[in-house]
């Protein structure tokens, strides 16, 4: 940065741009969770994605309430500690998913660390660039991803069979609802991340933007994720093993089932981009929560400090393997609990202040 420049330092991005970043990464996360991590619903995975905003409703209401008023420092710090832990675990799971995808498509012999480290470094670097870079990256990705998906869809359209989506309820209503709650664990990172990236309750946010973040974005994410899952579900698998394994799910996601191998090019670009964008979103949310807790640390230091604990968590993911579903189950109560408790704390404080004023 030129010393003559006055634009030095962290520039806060337009809130709209950050909504886009959060929405794109959450859509990818929900799609990935429904397709690979949670396979109980079978061909009704798209219904899980469609229903996840319902499971997010309590957390989203708390988010809508919280962003409408300044949050006192103790509540802010408590929630930031919780969210820092959650986002670091989220970041490590994204990293693991990205590296797993790369390993699955290409580098089966390469140590996973060689694939994890560059993604970790890039995510921390992008996070350290600040709001403009984050928001801009979200918008650029949003401009590219639909075209890649459209290309892959048109390429495979002759191989799609709507009949594969039947029976509609797939693995049963119970499985769908359970999957929707698990997806909501991933989906709740949208309000939680946005609350942190918007300054963790330091200022009041206009109603329009709160509404867009709390209502419109999750619905759009649900529609986009459900649409993608339905399209993927219509593809005929060419995998001969068990239909309910992560490997088969990954095959469906990355290689378009039994379609021509050429389609793998846009699909690989699509999934690598989305998974890495998710890494960036969760890393920057973790870095911002650390920055709120320790304001003296620069954003750059916070970004790298948030990236380091991920390395320790990766072996946990590797050991858990398909049991990531269990970890996913914990996210919903923790995110929802964090948002609701802080909203409750703010409500009590406001009531007490109002009584005193009377």
């Amino acid at each position: 940065m030129n010393p003559l420049s006055q634009t030095e330092g962290t520039v806060r991005a337009p809130r709209r741009a950050l909504i886009v970043l959060a929405a794109v990464s959450v859509t990818a996360r929900v799609t990935f969770s429904a397709a690979v991590d949670v396979q109980t619903a079978g061909n009704a995975a798209w219904l899980q994605a469609l229903l996840f905003p319902l499971a997010c409703a309590p957390g989203l209401s708390a988010f809508f309430y919280l962003t409408g008023r300044p949050v006192p420092r103790p509540a802010q710090s408590a929630v930031c500690v919780l969210f820092f832990i959650l986002f670091v675990s989220e970041f490590s799971s994204w990293l693991y998913a990205a590296a797993e995808c790369a390993a699955y498509t290409t580098f089966s012999d390469l140590p996973l660390l060689a694939l994890l480290l560059p993604a970790l470094a890039i995510a921390a670097y992008i996070s350290s660039l600040g709001g403009d870079a984050l928001g801009g990256l979200g918008q650029v990705t949003l401009a590219v991803v639909p075209w890649l998906f459209l290309l892959a869809t048109v390429w495979q359209i002759r191989d799609m069979r709507p009949v594969y989506l039947t029976p509609i309820l797939g693995g049963g209503l119970h499985a769908i609802l359970r999957g929707a709650f698990l997806c909501a664990g991933a989906g709740l990172s949208l309000p939680a991340g946005l609350w942190i990236l918007w300054g963790a309750g330091k200022e009041e946010i206009p109603v329009g933007e709160r509404r867009r973040a709390a209502c419109t974005s999750p619905l759009l994410c649900a529609l986009a994720a459900a649409g993608s899952l339905a399209i993927l579900g219509m593809l005929a698998p060419n995998y001969t093993g068990s239909p309910r394994t992560p490997t088969r799910a990954m095959e469906q996601l990355l290689m378009g089932g039994g379609a021509s191998t050429s389609v793998q090019f846009p699909l690989m670009l699509l999934w690598y981009s989305l998974l890495l964008l998710g890494c960036v979103f969760s890393c920057s949310s973790a870095a911002q929560s650390l920055n709120v807790l320790v304001p003296r640390l620069s954003l750059r230091a916070c970004s790298w400090l948030s990236a380091l604990p991920c390395l320790a968590l990766i072996p946990v993911w590797m050991r858990l393997g398909n049991a990531r579903e269990t970890m996913l189950a914990w996210r919903w109560p923790l995110f929802t609990g964090g948002l609701i408790l802080s909203a409750f704390g703010v409500w009590i404080r406001e009531r007490r202040n109002a009584r005193r004023a009377r």
């Binding site: 290409t106 990256l137 960036v280």
Partner: protein, 479 residues
Amino acid sequence: MAEEMDMRTPVSADLQVNRALLKRIFRLPRNGDCKLCLFRAAGRGALLCYLDGMCDAARIDEDILRPAKLPLAFSENADAASVARDAFALCDCETTGEMRAAVSAVLLGKCAVFIDGCEEAVLADCRKPEKRAVGRTVSENVVIGPQEGFTESLRTNLTLLRRIVRSERLVSETFDVGTELPTAFSLVYLDGRADEAVLSEVRRRMKNVDAPFVPGTGFLQQLIEDHPRALFAQMLQTERPDRASACLAEGRVAILGEGSPYALIAPITLFHLLHAPDDRFLRAQYGTFLRLVRFLGIVISLYLPAVYTAISLYHTHILPTSLFTSIAEARARVPFPVIVEVLIMEISFLLINEAGTRIPSQIGPALGIVGALILGQAAVSASIISPIMIIIVALTGLGNYAIPDYGLGVAVQMLRFGMLLCGAVWGLYGVVLFTMALMASLCGMRSFGETYLSPAAPSSRHMELLLRRPMQERKDEAR
């Protein structure tokens, strides 16, 4: 130190004191350029000081010496201002009581006239510096549109702009930049149209430049742009007055410098570097099509070698069988891995490119023969490279030449190597990683407050990205 003391001295009423001072300042008689002429005007002694070649000798004779020598040119007690008004036949005359100002004016090409008994000097504008005529542009050629370009004369360049932008709101502020050897720069903008915050920021940065000598706009750009370490320029250098005028009409500011045939435009976005000057002179449909072709050129130039390397090293399964077989057959006799093959060809191409820029025009065809025969045919015959690699590098080079801005072309060449290495190490995963880092750093950049990837990020409907809107929809541009 002594020179500084001399410069601070006020103009003396004693002609001999002024003469001695000027002799010291201009190192006379060692310095042959500076002329000091003593003459008598209306019965009083006078001293004329100017730099040979910077002034029009005929105008000095006709407009200063001849009228001043008339017996009743000015009264016996007249001050410098009265002399300038009554005696000289020049409209551009001013007075100064400071020796520093008088010396600066002489260095700019003006004449300084010191009159016995006056504590001020008259600065008369008789400038006629040598300069080349307005010619065709060198680096921004167009098929349809004006052909004239800026010259090295600041005055001529301002005239070229004023001829196109006929508005009383066109303002030109002059700055001397450089702590030891100042160079004249003009900040040009349309008052009321240019953003006041941008203007004050540009003024502040130009005033605070702490460099001894800033000989041109290229130097100034490096000193005042936001991110000097970034690969992409954050100011546009154009040698076309029509392009600079269009930017002024959009509310941007232009900086012109003495000795530089370019205007610096700020603030800009990446898309200004992608747009060619003749886009606006063509119909919207043609302009849009050509922009898309250029964009494709950039994508090919940046990605093709990296994607080829990544696919042929790691993702062969995504190639159709016939293409895979033909690549494998072509590479069967090549002893190097793909990455080495690509690097050999890329470096050879860069060398030919750079040599072609520096080579005298008489031996230019020889370079074409060397490039085509030795690096193309001979390398394939010797099985050092595969024929498909020639196609890859040729397409990459063509894509690079489609980039309208020279600096952007060089940046893309540099980035191509980074992309290539990432593709070679991590395949398409590495290409995506590098792209994300590149995109994020571009999104995080600013040019005088404007985000660099605007209107893509943050998105805006008010500016052009790749598609050119018809002129009827652009009426708001020049209010």
